[in-house]
């Protein structure tokens, strides 16, 4: 048995192989030394703004209640290209229902976790994921992928909180260290709040925030996608 071979008896579901293949294709186009971000233009790149609602804040134990995502291309949010999934629940915490308004077996059409992941990966493809505190959302999806015995998400991610902080002058150090909730971010950017705590509504607010932030960062019109990933 060779060192680098995986066990032959394990076969992956097609959506996962497709997901991986798309990344491999993109990488091969970029070349061995190149980055997939090279030459990506801001106004043609498809960004997926992403939000999940969960039963709690422990990404390992808690489960996904809903997934909402919208796409942003050239500052435009397309409703036709959006995703809104509600998941069937095994673990259910009544206290979180109050915040999220998603009742167990509510009147929504529901999918199981496996289907949700499949639809979600199909929707996001190799696009860059945007989210507010996206680390948590990615961890939650990764936990679900792990339960399905699959690997982790391979998409690049951008956090709107980190991006927003680039707008704050370094001299305001205290603000640099501040944590912003989505509500606070929306308030700072003067975005009207409605539909908080539905994943699709949060995704829409995050998308508008993302567009606003990028416009401010791009005041001279020369910003590239790659520069968005620059570390401060």
């Amino acid at each position: 048995m060779g060192l680098f071979t995986t066990s032959p008896q394990r076969s992956f579901p097609p959506f996962w192989t497709q997901y991986l293949a798309a990344f491999a294709r993109e990488k091969s186009q970029a070349g061995f030394l190149g980055s997939t971000l090279d030459g990506k233009k801001l106004d043609t790149t498809r960004f997926v703004v992403f939000d999940t609602e969960t039963t709690g804040l422990h990404y390992k134990e808690d489960r996904i209640l809903s997934i909402g995502a919208v796409t942003v291309i050239n500052n435009e949010i397309s409703i036709a290209q959006s995703l809104e999934l509600y998941l069937k629940q095994d673990i259910y915490k009544p206290e979180s229902a109050k915040i999220h308004g998603i009742l167990r077996n509510g009147s929504y059409e529901q999918v199981n976790e496996q289907e949700a992941i499949e639809k979600c990966l199909e929707f996001i493809g190799t696009n860059i994921l945007i989210g507010h505190h996206i680390g948590f959302d990615v961890a939650v999806i990764n936990a679900a992928l792990k339960r399905a015995q699959l690997g982790k998400l391979k998409n690049r991610v951008l956090d709107t909180e980190t991006l927003y902080k680039r707008l704050v002058h370094p001299i305001n150090r205290s603000l640099q260290e501040k944590r912003y909730t989505l509500d606070e971010l929306a308030e700072a950017l003067k975005i009207p709040l409605h539909d908080r705590h539905t994943s699709a509504g949060d995704a829409l607010i995050t998308a508008i925030a993302f567009i606003k932030i990028v416009k401010r960062l791009n005041s001279d019109g020369s910003l590239t996608v790659k520069q968005l990933f620059r570390k401060n």
Binding site: G68, V70, N75, E76, I77, S78, I79, A80, S82, E84, Y86, Y108, E109, K190, P192, H194, D195, T198, A200, G201, L204, A207, I208, I211, K212, K215
Partner: protein, 636 residues
């Protein structure tokens, strides 16, 4: 699939025309194809002469400016506010007619043009709305008065009414007699039925007409003996019309032939049966209560109750005038005539009830909005009385007489429908029933020693107008006031400061400032917040320019525009805005049967809200002019 965002867009769009005319499923369907667009200030959405895109836009938040070049300048065609739709291809042209720029930070919804057009074609309400709103391509911020009633102009009934195109009503209970009836018998018949016209028929076919005029001529020509018959006196040329004759047509026929009665026959000729008689009076009735008739009625009224009744009729007339969108200045002119007649008659009635004639000449003044001739509805009565100076020993008795008179007057006006003034600014208050020299002293105190408190009073008293009495007293008072004004600049500053006490009524976030407490919580006070700043601004500026005898706020602004060419545009838009606000208030008042002062914003349609907002635009600039000119910031 559940789609929360589409649902939210649906919730937003369904508030506005033309989307409110769409079926729920259709609108939801189109919303799921929407997209959301965020724009920074000054970002361009599309340019004039650019080919149409496949989507059109609705403002969700913020504002979009539509411009197009006009000669050398870029002209703002429209400012699209929340809920406004733009960029929709309606005509056959292939390119945008205007350039669309974000006027501020804006969020737009975009919808697919083709899908929407399909709905629009299938739905008459939508296409009507679109045609109407795009046909009136003359929108500009200051001339948008009509936009709310765009659809109304497409209703035939309304315009028909204005032109008299409806079928005329006439009397079908015709009194006839044969040509062989004696003249005396015919006259007796007319007397019995109290009519002015007899139709002379043989077998129901009209052969002649006998009216009051023919009878008069008969007397003059001495053909009234008992053996004279109708045939000798009647006119044999019968002017006829078809039963479907319109009011305007009938009026023309009467005028052309110089007659007062028109005979309606089955086919409109004199050879068929008579079916009715149309008189001049019927035409007057068809055109509604004419102001001339009302004045006549007021002058003849013997009791206050009859005055009240007549005035209610006048309100109906007002409603109709507003419906027909007559210019408000025209309506105001008519109504100030009517109101003057009303006041004069009320005074005559009051005087007739007094024990003796007034000891000295006096003048009854209308104050405030009545003084400015801007009152169309019932409001509070503000009035005052001046009487000629008398010797000190007689003053008490004279004052007593006039207080008594004023008391009667106020009571009568109350009966007619004018509420007592809550601040008691009425002639029956001993403070405001003064001799000429007392009034001069009073105004002198206000001018020489102004205080913020006295400004409320002077604001009302400086807009006075004579309603009844001797012109000389008013003339003398006015001369004395202007004399004092020329020596006091501090008074202007106080007055200007007072005019600034109400800030423009739209908040930073483009919302209306509403009342925060009291009985009218969350309602918009159109009088204090929108009209009062214009009224007081016009007052101080016209006093400053020594403009006498112009009391009307919009006329004051028009005059000011002539006097100050550098502010011409501003003053003209102030005049326009004031007229529009006044019309608005009157309409609201008629709708709710009150003074129209407090407006529930929730009851307004989107068009009305926008119209109101546009009227506020010149306010800020006007207040800036006052602030700079009168240096108000240094006043405590």
């Amino acid at each position: 699939m559940q789609n929360t965002i589409a649902q939210r867009i649906y919730d937003f769009l369904k508030q506005f025309p033309p989307f409110q005319f769409m079926a729920e499923s259709d609108l939801l369907d189109i919303c799921s194809q929407a997209s959301v667009l965020y724009l920074d200030k000054d970002e361009v959405i599309f340019k004039r002469d650019q080919a149409y895109g496949d989507r059109f836009y609705i403002v969700q938040q913020g504002a979009i400016k539509l411009t197009r070049p006009s000669k050398d300048v870029i002209k703002v065609v429209d400012i699209c506010d929340e809920g406004d739709l733009f960029g929709l291809k309606v005509t056959s042209t292939d390119t945008y007619r205007t350039t669309a720029t974000a006027n501020e930070e804006t969020i737009l919804y975009t919808l697919p043009m083709e899908e929407f057009s399909a709905f629009a074609k299938a739905n008459k309400a939508i296409s009507n709305y679109l045609i109407a709103s795009f046909a009136s391509n003359i929108k500009d911020p200051y001339t948008l008065q009509q936009s709310g009633s765009l659809l109304n102009t497409y209703e035939p009934e309304r315009s028909a009414h204005l032109l008299g195109l409806e079928q005329a009503r006439y009397s079908t209970a015709i009194i006839t007699c044969s040509p062989k009836t004696s003249i005396q018998e015919a006259a007796r018949l007319m007397q019995q039925h109290r009519i002015g016209c007899l139709v002379i028929t043989t077998d129901s076919i009209p052969v002649g007409v006998l009216t009051n005029r023919e009878l008069r001529n008969a007397i003059a020509n001495n053909i009234i003996s008992s053996d004279h018959v109708v045939h000798d006196a009647m006119i044999t040329q019968v002017v006829c019309a078809v039963p479907k004759v319109t009011v305007a047509q009938a009026q023309l026929i009467l005028l052309k032939n110089g007659i007062s009665h028109l005979i309606i026959t089955e086919d409109g000729t004199a050879s068929t049966k008579v079916v009715g008689v149309l008189s001049k009076h019927d035409i007057v009735v068809a055109y509604g209560n004419s102001p001339a008739e009302l004045v006549k009625e007021i002058k003849r009224a013997k009791k206050t109750k009859m005055l009240r009744f007549t005035w209610e009729k006048a309100t109906l007339l007002l409603e109709r005038y507003l419906d027909q969108n007559l210019p408000i200045s025209h309506i105001l002119n008519i109504f100030s005539e009517l109101k003057d007649a009303l006041m004069q008659r009320t005074m005559e009635l009051s005087l007739s009830k007094m024990a003796h004639n007034p000891p000295v000449p006096f003048t009854w003044l209308a104050l405030g909005s009545q003084g400015r001739e801007e009152q169309l509805l019932y409001t509070d009565q503000d009035n005052a009385l001046i009487y000629e100076d008398v010797s000190p020993e007689n003053n008490e008795a004279t004052k007593g007489y006039f207080l008594h008179l004023a008391n009667r007057m106020n009571k009568r006006l109350h009966k007619i429908g004018y509420d007592y003034c809550p601040a008691d600014m009425m002639g029956s208050n001993p403070l405001y029933c003064l001799s000429l020299s007392e009034w001069k002293a009073q105004f002198s105190t206000w001018i020489k020693d102004p205080s913020p408190e006295s400004m409320l009073l002077s604001g009302i008293f400086f807009d006075y107008r004579m309603v009844y009495g001797t012109q000389e007293l008013v003339g003398e008072l006015t001369a004395s006031i202007y004399d004092q004004l020329s020596t006091s600049s501090v008074f202007f500053r106080f007055m200007a400061k007072d005019a600034l006490k109400n800030p423009p009524p739209v908040s930073f976030f483009r919302n209306f400032l509403v009342e925060s407490d009291g009985a009218h919580k969350d309602e918009f006070d159109i009088k204090n917040r929108a009209m009062a700043p214009l009224i007081s601004g016009a007052r101080v500026l016209s006093l400053y320019h020594n403009l006498r005898n112009i009391n009307h706020t919009s006329e004051r602004f028009e005059k000011l525009a002539e006097l100050e060419p550098q502010n011409k545009e501003l003053f003209e838009s102030c005049a326009y805005a004031f007229k529009a606000l006044l019309k608005f208030r009157v309409k609201q008042g008629l709708r709710n049967d009150d003074s129209g002062r407090f407006i529930k914003l929730a009851d307004l349609s989107k068009e009305e809200r926008l119209k109101l907002k546009r009227c506020f635009k010149p306010l800020r600039d006007l207040q800036e002019v006052l602030r700079v000119r009168f240096q108000t910031q240094n006043l405590s």
